[in-house]
Symmetry: C2
Subunit: 343 residues, 2 copies
Amino acid sequence: MTEISTLGEFGLIRHLTENIKIKNESTLKGVGDDAAVLSFKDKATLVTTDLLLEGIHFDLTYVPLKHLGYKSAVVNFSDIYAMNGQPKQITVSLGVSKRFSVEDLDDFYEGLRLACEIYGVDIVGGDTSASLTGFCISITCIGEAEKEQIVYRKGAQVNDLICVSGDLGAAYMGLQLLEREKTIFAGEKDFTPDFAGKEYLLERQLKPEARKDIIRQLKENQLLPTSMMDISDGLSSELLHICKDSGVGCAVYEERIPIDYQTAMMAEQFNMNLTTVALNGGEDYELLFTLPLDLHDQAEQLEGVKIIGHICDASLGSCLITRDGTQIALKAQGWNSLEDNNL
Amino acid sequence: MTEISTLGEFGLIRHLTENIKIKNESTLKGVGDDAAVLSFKDKATLVTTDLLLEGIHFDLTYVPLKHLGYKSAVVNFSDIYAMNGQPKQITVSLGVSKRFSVEDLDDFYEGLRLACEIYGVDIVGGDTSASLTGFCISITCIGEAEKEQIVYRKGAQVNDLICVSGDLGAAYMGLQLLEREKTIFAGEKDFTPDFAGKEYLLERQLKPEARKDIIRQLKENQLLPTSMMDISDGLSSELLHICKDSGVGCAVYEERIPIDYQTAMMAEQFNMNLTTVALNGGEDYELLFTLPLDLHDQAEQLEGVKIIGHICDASLGSCLITRDGTQIALKAQGWNSLEDNNL
């Protein structure tokens, strides 16, 4: 184990960034000056940022640092895809607590680099500092998009189809599972919980992917959504954002919400309402988008995409239609670090 | 006092950002979607980021939140100017501890907005989260520059003049002063220390400015530095960066280093070596740049700029030439949060 203080700030940054190879034409200068220099020519520049704090967003007792590095990058890429853009660069700022070793940061960076490799993104800068308390991660992602191809939250129209990629609720059930095992094995040193048959849930929680493939499919099929978001706080919360920004309402069919078998099994075990889990679980990083009704047939052909409902007039509100036909108003109950129960 | 939990995450973000007016043509979409949308046309995009952590980078016992907001923005602008660019947008991520009220964040944002107003920068996004421990600030600044006008650290040539704006060491002495008063008055509730005659030092520490004016002067006089950096970690450290990246050495004259009268008085009181303070103090946010020797006369005309030495062959090393003509090798002793004494 190498103590970070043996390298110092500049030594550490050099150690972590020295082998970075620039992949994108738009990166003119990466790490190593007062600022990174990028060039997107006639394309628009997209910018998104996320702050992840130990004890709030992640628990290092069960989150491996390599996975955390991977996830920290991917959640930012997801925001760029949600604009119908391509992520191209990230800056990485870390606040590092005393108990961290150089090897710990190497693990974190290994995950970060792997994500950047897979998604074609350059690490172009950052800041590394001591932290008096927990591990603190701030990542900013820069992407590009053709101006006329950018998809905002505000464009949904009455009668549009509501589409969602992948399945929902699995990451949340993965978190519940990890939290339960942590409680059971608290205090024991070498705990090896049995996660057999629940691998998908853990993967969704610990190593999520961003839906680059959906953006590619949309492009290949020349489909331009009228609105789009990524699902980080739960389907309900994101649907309400789209409805509010677009000045519309929506109807979503409970039976159409995509849910994996493992998620359903786990919700049963935990005695949780499966629909609530799928609507409010959060951290799915799937894409939620709307398409004009006349594209129904093409929408149905999209691989890994499900039509779950439609946009309606604002006066009709935003509703879930249950299996027995009851309408229930959607509520944003997604995870929120600033609510009473968390602060 | 309003508790943050009464607003929730989205309510808080809305409260803090609802009256933001976009000033720049390059900002197509600010706060309120998955990512901000910017457009710099044929100009290059510059990106820099800074992470500021309570207890490491600032002490809330004597740093007013409004000043902290101002400073957090300005230190990022400074990095963009140091590339010979113009800051245009920032994203602001905050980790907020439980003891913070909405009014505290209003104060912080007031400083942030004031800085953005003065420097012509748009707030285009961010992230607000609970923090289990201290206040955590991550700001990313995006700027623009004509590609052929960007100034890197690596371009210094043998015989170039070394120029520095403003004066050095004042922010560091301001910090020493604040720390001393904090120690003296520890425990007393209404302490009103006497800072008469030391206002400049406090201002340099608590409310620094970025040298937009120097960048404007350089442009007006059609002077393009061969290399440039802002001085955040101390003159010595930054000079060594330029020399290393440019593959050159340097000679700096002790008697030419610009120092304010209040800095000198305070160093005397604290029994500190004044040159050490000026070389290694840090947080000056002045600009350090090099100009070709044949521009000597124009360099001398620049207001608020002093020529402090020249670039020489790498084999001659990087030296300070003292008042009595002795050569001393420059060492980077600037503040470093990851060194042993800080962690």
